[in-house]
């Protein structure tokens, strides 16, 4: 136990001595998460619309008046279809609407056609714009359309992207920092040759390894509390519908299993450059298979099976459930157990590979 504490404190002191590293870690956990949360907006905003109107402009004007901010910019009028197309081809506008000269006549005969040209190179905006237009037209035509759709978006009513993106960025920063810190701790010693001396000491090598990675887990946990407390709760006003303690415990288990990956990298890499390369190569599939980009149920069945190996998958599921869905801890037991199993397996490998002198 004393050996554990000594190694643990030594690593902590070494970490806080290198103020450059401290600054980088602090920066990633605060400013970087803030920028990512603020900077990206996936919902369509200010979509530019152009139109050609060959009618008297009564009905077309009514339709156009529905296209307002913040989703749309003021529609721009073009004099001919050629000009409209040119603007569309030059990507000055994204949506082009053409009102034929028979549009109004057809409207009263209920066979009017609204010609819409979408710049589908921005697929996301294209989708939503189209749905929006269809909704306008639908409401426009029939005040007494008998079916009404009551849509409730649970857990994040306004599809608030900053809340989600700041959380997602926090997750990836946490993962990246943990992997790099926990592998650098070992590789630094290996590079300078002191690792062999450590192993020669009359202390169980497992204790040394555990103490070393536990010190980095503590660093990461401090970063987590700063990030969640100041940036996520303070600035982005994230809801916490589950239990905060459960989140901390989950984070602890997660950083344990991720530091296992760091240990794995450390046992393979010979110098810092290789650490950098390996961590990128290993991290990318882990993030890709986690379901944060493509939902797991939309993946290829083989990839779905493979995603069971990605620790990030369980952690994202757990965090989303705790922050937004408000799931109770007992329904999340599988995530806790899976993370623990992955972590233990990785450490077993690490003990064997790096914990022996010969």
């Amino acid at each position: 136990m004393k050996a554990f504490l000594t190694v643990f404190l030594k690593e902590l002191i070494m970490f806080f001595r290198s103020w450059g590293l401290v600054a980088v870690v602090l920066y990633s956990f605060t400013v970087d998460v803030y920028i990512a949360g603020k900077g990206f907006e996936v919902k369509p905003r200010n979509v530019s619309v152009g139109y050609v109107d060959f009618t008297d402009g009564v009905i077309s004007g009514k339709i156009l008046s529905h296209l307002h901010s913040p989703e749309f910019q003021e529609p721009v009028r073009f004099l001919s279809e050629e000009e409209l197309k040119k603007a569309l081809f030059n990507r000055n506008i994204m949506v082009g609407i053409v009102f034929d000269s028979d549009f109004e006549k057809d409207f009263f005969e209920k066979k009017a056609k609204l010609n819409v040209m979408l710049d589908a190179t921005a697929a996301a905006q294209g989708y939503v714009t189209l749905a929006y237009l269809q909704n306008i037209v639908l409401r426009f035509g029939e005040e007494n359309f008998p079916v009404e759709l009551k849509t409730h978006k649970l857990f994040n009513q306004n599809s608030d992207t900053p809340k989600f993106l700041s959380l997602a960025e926090f997750l990836s920063i946490l993962t990246l920092i943990t992997v790099i810190l926990s592998s650098v701790v070992f590789v630094k010693e290996r590079e300078s040759g002191t690792w062999d001396i450590m192993l020669l000491m009359p202390v169980n090598s497992k204790i040394i390894i555990l103490a070393k990675s536990f010190s980095q887990i503590v660093v990461v946990m401090i970063g987590t509390i700063i990030c969640v407390g100041i940036v996520l709760f303070g600035i982005f006003k994230l809801p916490m519908n589950g239990s905060f303690m459960a989140f901390l415990v989950l984070t602890l288990i997660y950083s344990f299993s991720i530091s296992g990956i760091g240990l794995f990298i450390a046992s393979v890499a010979k110098n810092m450059l290789q650490v950098a390369q390996l961590s990128v190569i290993i991290m990318m599939p882990i993030i890709f298979l986690s379901g944060s980009w493509t939902p797991i149920y939309s993946m290829h069945p083989v990839l779905q099976e493979l995603s069971l190996l990605s620790p990030l998958r369980y952690y994202i599921e757990g965090c989303e459930s705790l922050f937004f869905r408000g799931t109770s801890v007992f329904d999340l037991w599988i995530d806790f157990v899976a993370l623990l199993v992955l972590g233990v397996a990785l450490y077993m490998f690490g003990f064997r590979k790096i914990g022996k002198l010969f």
């Binding site: 994204m94 639908l138 029939e142």
Partner: protein, 369 residues
């Protein structure tokens, strides 16, 4: 005049160092990996949404709606006979993503023309996914309801998806990724090549020898440029064969624009190397000044035409916007230089390159600080 011998010697030295330190693998692995990962990873479409339908009506019409969901590849539907509350609990446990509730007397009311409500519950803890699911579900329901109520709408939206008829995500995203890949990778490499000498102290060879600044710059920057010129072709093949992005424009325009863009990126690396003293700082600095604008102002996430004020101004400062405009045109639109805007942007890129290369060369110091 440029001393060819000096440049040649630098090229030889840098190349053999790259091969020896195995950094050459990263030069070719990273761009392709980023492209493949993001190309597959950023998906706006969602398939197999786990859907639960609670049917209180049990009429013919309600079954029609259910079968519409069952036959769509976007939904994996299951009709459940459980109370609403339990279904919402399931959503809380992330077992279903979409819940649709068809009320009692749905058919009766519909035929009488009375107002009926269909309840839709969506798990929006992934906001964009939620938005997409909402669009899909409302689309299916409205279409069915229209047919069922036998009322004709006065206006039909007749839309054409220009440039990307089938609305494939790959077509929309992959060309935009080129602007990021070719901005980041060459810049990092060229910055590293110079800063590594600074960190190791071998830069004094340059300070103390009669090599002129211009020879040094050319000697250092030519290698990243040449290596990444090969990447221009590799990435093109990934985009067209792996992601099946159509190529409607002129290959020559794609190639020449990309070469100039790589030159710009390499010069950005030169600018970074003037400030940075250690390799780690060089890498972090390059990533900060290239990746974030590369994503924000690439038009992938937000179209340039939707930007206003500050964002629009900043977008015009970085080269990504100009390059991506030409690249999207080359892949999806195919106007080439017959459009003045493309031609104008092309010249903007050339002058951009000349400006920062001259600035970088002038700012580079050939003495001890």
């Amino acid at each position: 005049m440029i001393k060819i011998n000096v440049v040649k010697a630098y090229l030889k030295k840098e190349f053999s160092e790259l091969v020896r330190s195995k950094l050459i693998i990263m030069v070719y692995l990273m761009p392709s990996m980023v492209l493949i990962l993001f190309g597959y990873g950023i998906k706006m479409e969602v398939y197999n949404v786990r859907t639960a339908i609670i049917n209180y009506d049990k009429s013919q019409l309600s079954y029609r709606i259910i079968s519409a969901f069952e036959h769509s590849r976007y939904f994996k539907t299951e009709v459940m006979n459980i109370p609403e509350k339990e279904a919402l609990e399931m959503m809380k446990r992330a077992e279903i993503d979409l819940l649709i509730i068809i009320p009692e007397n749905f058919e009766k009311n519909l035929l009488k023309g009375l107002k009926t409500e269909i309840g839709i519950f969506i798990d929006a803890s992934f906001p964009f996914r939620g938005l997409t699911i909402q669009n899909y579900a409302e689309g299916v329901l409205l279409k069915e309801a229209q047919e069922l109520s036998q009322k004709k709408l006065p206006i039909v939206v007749n839309h054409r998806n220009m440039f990307n008829q089938s609305m494939r995500d790959e077509n929309a995203i992959v060309p935009g990724l080129l602007g990021i890949v070719f901005l980041v990778a060459p810049a990092i490499l060229s910055a590293l090549l110079i800063v590594r000498e600074k960190e190791r102290g071998t830069i004094f060879n340059f300070y103390s020898s009669p090599i002129r600044k211009i020879d040094f710059v050319i000697g250092k920057l030519t290698l990243p440029f040449l290596l990444h010129s090969v990447n221009i072709f590799i990435i093109f093949l990934w985009a067209t064969y792996l992601f099946k992005v159509p190529f409607r424009g002129n290959f020559f325009i794609y190639w020449i624009t990309s070469e100039i863009y790589v030159l710009i990126s390499v010069s950005i690396g030169l600018l970074v190397s003037i400030v940075a003293r250690t390799q780690i700082v060089a890498i972090v600095l390059t990533i900060i000044i290239t990746v974030i604008p590369g994503f924000l102002y690439s038009g992938i996430i937000m179209p340039i035409s939707s930007m206003k004020g500050e964002a629009a101004f900043e977008a015009h400062i970085f080269p990504v916007m100009y390059y991506n405009h030409i690249i999207y045109d080359a892949f999806l639109i195919g106007q080439g230089f017959s459009s003045e805007k493309n031609l104008f942007y092309f010249f903007v890129l050339i002058s951009y390159w000349i400006f920062i290369t001259v600035a970088g060369t002038l700012l580079l110091k050939k003495e001890l600080r």
